[in-house]
């Protein structure tokens, strides 16, 4: 059994203007020490997915269905008290903006020690020693002085290192990193990413990495999910998806990478933008933007305005797309016919 198992997760926001369905039928697993990437454009539901794993969705959001199983326990039905023992202890998080993540009025030391003391019965002295060790591991110069400093005295990169140190404090099984380098200076991004990767590998920590950067995903993760409008539309081994994407959206994303463009020409892009979750097109949410099917006359294929049939297996990947499903069906029948005619 996988360390983390997400089944049919469904998250909604009860807003005054009606319910917004932020996550629908999200399924994935994470093995011990595995690294999983989640990609998708802004608003696809990546952060919602991350927060809902630890049941940290704030009102008016709520988990409307499905389950999150971690190490045999069902997290989404646990009491707050029991959940607190998991948060920051066995599963910890890293946020996007290190300038906002640390409390401005508490010293770094206070913010590190409180986390240790929330989960272990240890003396301040022992806690301090552990905190110093972690600060040392994230390669912060003169860790002792950092403990007494306040966040505003440190640069963004420095703060993100401290946040990584906090995430590692209790030797968690999983770290969920929600765009951990997006807010940083480009020159520091690679450094922080490499550090995070190295530490996860060294301590055999599983990583759920949310990012917009397909390059990072392909280098760092073993498996990946592609999300669109609250759904997972393609998932599987990272290498397979990057080399041979099946879903038209994934193909579009990979085509949009700068290195895929012909020199001297415009970069490729997916036309249009993601629909608002409260106003989704019928059937496959991607069909109005799908190049694959609209090429001929600008009209969507009738089949694509019908509900997507769920995942079809393609190699080791799972894809939610009418076209891919039909293609695979056709291949199967062709093969069967071939067998019939040439016994």
């Amino acid at each position: 059994m996988a360390l983390l198992e997400v089944n049919h997760l469904d998250v909604r926001f009860a807003l005054r203007l009606g319910e917004v369905h932020a996550l629908r039928d999200v399924n994935f697993t994470l093995e011990r020490g595995e690294r999983l990437g989640i990609v998708g454009e802004s608003g696809a539901g990546k952060s919602v997915a991350a927060f809902s794993l630890l049941n940290l969705i704030a009102k008016p959001g709520f988990i409307a269905g499905g389950e999150v199983r971690f190490d045999g326990q069902q997290l989404n039905s646990m009491s707050e008290r029991a959940l607190r023992k998991v948060r920051g202890n066995r599963i910890s998080m890293i946020f996007q903006d290190p300038m906002m993540t640390l409390n401005p009025v508490l010293s770094i030391g206070e913010q590190m020690l409180e986390c240790l003391k929330a989960h272990r019965r240890i003396s301040s002295k022992e806690a301090r020693a552990i905190a110093l060790d972690k600060l040392y591991q994230v390669q912060i110069p003169s860790p002792e002085t950092r403990l007494d400093q306040y966040p505003h005295e440190l640069s963004g990169g420095m703060r993100q290192r401290i946040i990584i140190a906090i995430a590692l404090l209790l030797d968690p099984d999983i770290i969920i990193a929600d765009e951990p380098t997006t807010a940083l200076d480009v020159t520091i991004q690679a450094e922080i990413m490499a550090l995070l990767l190295e530490l996860c590998e060294k301590h055999n920590v599983g990583l759920i990495l949310i990012t917009h950067d397909l390059g990072v995903v392909s280098q760092v993760t073993q498996r990946m999910l592609v999300m669109y409008a609250g759904r997972v539309i393609e998932q599987g081994p990272t290498r397979e998806i990057i080399n041979d994407p099946q879903h038209p959206y994934t193909q579009g994303l990979i085509n949009a990478l700068p290195q895929m463009a012909t020199p001297g020409e415009k970069l490729n892009q997916i036309r249009g933008s993601m629909p608002s979750l409260s106003n989704l097109p019928s059937g496959c949410a991607f069909h109005p933007r799908c190049d694959f099917i609209n090429r001929a006359d600008g009209q969507p294929r009738p089949a694509c305005t019908q509900q997507v049939p769920g995942f079809v297996e393609s190699g080791n990947c799972q894809v939610a797309c009418h076209m891919v499903a039909e293609l695979i069906d056709k291949e199967a029948t062709d093969e069967a016919r071939l067998k019939e005619t040439n016994p």
């Binding site: 940290l56 948060r87 920051g88 409390n103 009025v105 986390c115 929330a118 906090i166």
Partner: protein, 348 residues
């Protein structure tokens, strides 16, 4: 720290300079001091002599310089009415006002923080809604009305009998909605002398009971404002990334509310609140009048009625000074709570 104090001192001097100009302009333009000093029968020639003697014919700047030099030595002249140095008159009335403001401030702080925090943590609870409703009403009722209602309810007492008096449950309900009264609502009672002109209401139970109604009605001006401010700030802070991160670390909600969130909530509250507490000194005029509380506010109204110009001017200067001092203290406290403020004067 020293640099901070020096900078604040400079600010304070600047503010006091502006106030002194206003005060002097009032003194210079309000009425004729000679008229106030001498009787009707004194002939014009003698008046002119007196005017010359007092320097009232000197140029404006010379007169102001004289005023400022004296003011710097806490010499604002003699009160016409009391025939004493105005500073002595103020010194007699100052303790009553300061004690009233201190009691009101105490009430404001001890009530607004828990109520504000509670209604931010549980915004949907009926108690929170009740507090929010009350605070809206509180903001819109003028102080003197609050004061009069308090006097009616707790000093005079009301006996309502909407329920039948001849039944047990009826008289029980009648008792419940009626009040006994008996709380003192006039003057300070017999305050205990401390030293000099300082007499205190804090030293005896009787003194404290005299403080209750005036302090409550003075506090009622600011309390709703503080509750709403704290609630709004706290609600905003609870949405911040650092609170979410603290939750993701597995920290208990109690610690998140009362350490992570409250400390950040208090920063703007201290800034805004400090200024408001300063203005309470000025608000005492109304409260002191209704309760005949023998403080500076009551004295000031009296001085206006009798055109006691030196006393009016002294009052303005002293209130300005108190305002400047409270603001400096508030800045100091803010600097202690907020680590991003270096008390060296320049932001880090």
């Amino acid at each position: 720290m020293i640099a901070f104090l020096v900078k604040r001192l400079f600010h304070a001097l600047l503010v006091m300079f502006v106030i002194s100009i206003i005060a002097f302009a009032i003194q210079d333009n309000l009425g004729d001091p000679i008229q106030q000093m001498v009787g009707q029968s004194v002939p014009e020639s003698e008046r002119a002599e007196l005017r010359e003697e007092l320097g009232l014919n000197d140029p404006f700047l010379v007169q102001y310089a004289r005023f400022a030099i004296n003011a710097a030595q806490f010499d604002f002249g003699y009160s016409y009415v009391f025939n004493q140095p105005t500073t002595e008159v103020i010194a007699r009335h100052l303790p009553a006002t300061l004690e009233l403001v201190a009691a009101a401030t105490f009430l404001i702080i001890t009530l607004s923080v828990p109520i504000g925090v509670y209604s931010a943590i549980k915004p949907r609870a009926w108690l929170s809604r009740f507090f929010m409703g009350i605070s809206i009403v509180g903001i819109s009722i003028p102080v003197f009305l609050t004061a009069i209602m308090l006097i009616q309810l707790f000093a005079i007492g009301v006996s309502w009998t909407p329920f039948p008096v001849d039944t047990a449950w009826g008289s029980w309900l009648n008792d419940l909605i009626s009040t006994e009264g008996g709380m003192p609502a006039y003057g300070r009672g017999n305050p205990v002398p401390v030293f000099g002109t300082w007499e205190t209401n804090f030293a005896s139970l009787e003194g404290l009971t005299y403080l209750v109604l005036p302090a409550v009605s003075l506090a009622s001006i600011m309390l709703p404002l503080f509750i709403r401010l704290i609630r709004a700030e706290m609600l905003e802070v609870m949405q911040s990334d650092y609170v979410k991160f603290a939750r993701a670390k597995g920290i208990s909600m109690r610690r998140i509310y009362f350490l992570h969130a409250l400390k950040n909530t208090m920063l703007p509250v201290i800034t805004v609140g400090g200024v408001q507490i300063g203005t309470l000194v000025a608000y005492t005029i109304l409260t002191e009048t209704v309760f005949q509380w023998p403080g500076m506010g009551l004295m000031f109204l009296d001085a206006i009625e009798r055109s006691d110009i030196p006393l009016i001017v002294t009052y303005l200067m002293i209130v300005g000074l108190i305002f400047v001092i409270t603001n400096t203290i508030v800045d100091l406290i803010y600097g202690l709570v907020n680590p991003t403020v270096k008390l060296t004067g320049k932001p880090a």
